[in-house]
Amino acid sequence: MGKIAKEELLQKLSEKFPGQVTETGADFGLLTVETNKEVITDVLSFLKTDAALQFIFLTDLTAIHYPEQEKPIGVIYHLHSLTTNTRIRIKVFLTLDDLHIPTASTIWDGANWMERETYDFFGVIFDGHPDLRRILNVDDMTVFPMRKEFPLEDPNRIDKKDYFFGR
């Protein structure tokens, strides 16, 4: 089983999901595709269960925030096919007023904590997640600190100025 060429991979995805999956780049030969939340579960299941592809390992599940975009929050999946040593990156962008996306924990158990972390820092709500609560931050936190809109604690304080530290 050699590495799957990215053209072949993209072709397979396009045949299975016509018009729903678009290539957005291939940095360092890592195919990056964008899709939408309606088909993301099917795309992930297909990639995992397809006999030729076998992307059985969810490397990472995280999010990103581009405040200037129309759909600012992107949920990002990194998959790894251990049998063919191929990697793929999948992005789904969401609007701020509808941060819902189906959970991937039904496909990979490992997605459970990753989704909790993504919820913790970006506020993405994973529908169907068995236990969606904060995992790293304190429970009573009301903000999502990895978003670009998150302010510094107190812009008026001066006790952290450089001259106090000999800088």
Binding site: V138, V143, P145, F150, L152, K160, F165
Partner: protein, 180 residues
């Protein structure tokens, strides 16, 4: 003459065969030279503290031979390192479990003020959750600085009156932190 140094006696009335002083001072003398620290070390300052405990700097000279890793019988809570907001309640619980009289020393920039970590997850100084007696500056402070802070604590212990912990002022301080 031997070069062994002993602690000076407190001020008092000396005569042949007797020595009279204040109980406060006698107790303070004993307490200050037998402090039992409870090291609450979370990061780099904790490593610096290990050096302080080692043979070269030898904190044991000050009678702090027994490090108490439990709040039981500990007098001095030494908080060394970054305290995150999630760690705050734990630190507070350790403080509450210590018996009076107790002293607190914030070692290093993080414990004193949050240090360089001006972020959503870090407590900006442990004095937000517990009262602090001595702050040791530095990032990290050298062992000499930790010893200096320790000696500052000793001075506080020596000069503390036996009734201080019952005073309304002290009760008010604790009440400010929500401690009864």
């Amino acid at each position: 003459m031997s070069d062994i140094q002993i602690v000076e006696a407190p001020a008092g009335l000396e005569g042949s065969g007797f020595f009279a002083t204040k109980l406060d001072q006698a107790v303070g003398l004993a307490r200050s030279h037998s402090l039992w620290p409870l090291p609450f070390a979370t990061s780099c300052c904790g490593i610096e503290f290990m050096a302080t405990m080692g043979s070269h700097y030898d904190l044991s000279r000050f009678g702090a031979e027994r490090l108490s890793f439990s709040p039981r019988q500990a007098d001095l809570l030494m908080v060394m390192g970054t305290i995150s907001k999630k760690m705050g309640p734990v630190l507070r619980q350790v403080y509450l479990q210590m018996a009076e009289p107790r002293w607190v020393m914030a070692v290093g920039a993080c414990a004193s003020s949050g240090g360089i970590f001006d972020t959503y997850s870090v407590l900006q100084g442990i004095d937000e959750v517990i009262p602090v007696d001595v702050y040791v500056p530095g990032c990290p402070p050298r062992p000499e600085a930790i010893i200096d802070g320790f000696m500052a604590i000793q001075k506080l212990v020596q000069t503390e009156t036996l009734r201080r912990r019952e005073e309304p002022k002290y009760q008010a301080l604790l009440a400010k932190y929500g401690i009864q």
